[in-house]
Structures are given as C-alpha cells and as structure tokens.
Symmetry: C2
Subunit: 132 residues, 2 copies
C-alpha cells in the first residue's frame, strides 16, 4: 500500500509536528511516499520548483490512497487533491477548523472528516484502512 | 471568452477588494463566471457545499481560461488549479508573495507571475489576453 500524505509546506508549517505524528501512524498501513512533510527542520534542497512538482506528482500517480490534513490552508495541498480526484484516487481529508473549503467538503469524490484530537484522527484512520 | 477567476474564500478574504479590481479588469476581455469572488460582503447563501462545488466545477469545465490570484493560500484555489490542469485549461497564476507553492510555480502547465502592484498585474493580464 502506497500512501500519499499531503500537508502544508510553504503555506505554513505550524502543523508540522502533527503531520509527523500522522505519518508515523500511517506507516503501520503502508509506505508513506511523502514522509518528509513531517520533518520539523524541512529544508528545501537545491532542487527547482519543477523538480519538486514532478517528484510529488509522480508519487501522487504511484499512490494507492491520498490522506490530507487540510486545517492550514494550502495551495499545494488543494492542487494535489484536485489532481488526485481526476486520477480517481481514494481521498480522505481531515480538519480541526469548523469548516474547510467547499470545493473539498462538497466534492463527492473526497471524504472529509472534522476531528478534535490526534486520538480521534487515529481512530478515523484505523477505520479507513481496516475497510480497504 | 469565458473566464474563471479564482481567489480565496474561506481561506481568507483579505484580498477581496483586489479580486474585485481584477474581475473588473477581466470583464473587458470576456464573461467572468465567478464574479461573486470579488464581492466584499460575500455571504454564503443557503446552499450546501456540494452545490457550491458542483456549480464552481461546472463553471471551470465551461471556462476557456483560468486566472488565479494565489497570494492568500487557499485549498479551494489549489483544487481548482489541479482540476483545471487535468482539463488542459490555459492557466495563469499571480502572487505578490516572494514564493508560491512549488506545486503551482513548478507545474509546467501553469504560468506563474510575481507582481508588485495592481498596475503590474493589469499589464500582465493585457499581454495574456492580447496573445490569445
């Protein structure tokens, strides 16, 4: 099982520690292709934006499932969700905020969950992977 | 010419006045399907998120060109860009911030411009539409 985890990078790193916790939890279910998103000291290597885009897009194409934490608004996460929907990938989004974008919560091909605690989120994830 | 203009809604309305200026400028080139994005008092009507999604997606499908202001990070704008790229729509993004998402600036199917003033932006838009 190849898992594409999506979280904000340039949009804001305030949830980076949470992303790391989610990624660790996901790793019991498969290979998290985007493991670097949880790195607290994530540095952009000396690669171009096109190289970042193409690498991430290849991982998206290769993935079996997309899991996104969408509380911090992110253009990149939205882009990945839009492309993932067109690729018919099973896609699950999680947010702590009261609402998320109507383009995500209103998308019939994305399942969106509001959660309060990391424990809640882990329970949702366990249910999703147990049903696959 | 049907123009899909994309800007942040739930992600943050601090640029709403700017969006209105952009939309007014775009209207000389065609019909801006998403004219409401520039409304300062934009209220979500009593419609569901699915209705918002499906309406916007239909406009996206119908459009000839996508113009997005991406300075305020927005999940919905990113989603629209991702779907637009898959639909092979000509897509142009504008930001005042130093950088925008690598998924957008690094995407070979999106043209991204950094600008400083509304005047700059209008000049870029005029060049784009004159070349179409």
């Amino acid at each position: 099982m190849k898992i594409y985890f999506s979280g904000a990078i340039r949009g804001g790193r305030e949830d980076a520690e949470l992303y790391a916790e989610i990624i660790t939890h996901l790793q019991q279910y498969g290979d998290v292709l985007t493991e670097h998103i949880g790195q607290m000291d994530l540095q952009e290597k000396m690669i171009t934006d096109k190289e970042i885009h193409d690498q991430d897009l290849n991982w998206l194409i290769e993935s079996d499932i997309i899991i996104a934490e969408v509380t911090v608004p992110s253009l990149g996460v939205g882009y990945e969700l839009g492309r993932g929907v067109e690729m018919k990938k099973p896609t699950f989004c999680f947010h702590r905020s009261e609402k998320t974008s109507a383009m995500v919560s209103g998308c019939p091909d994305i399942k969106t969950f509001k959660y309060n605690s990391l424990l809640d989120l882990k329970v949702f994830l366990d249910e999703i992977f147990q049903k696959l």
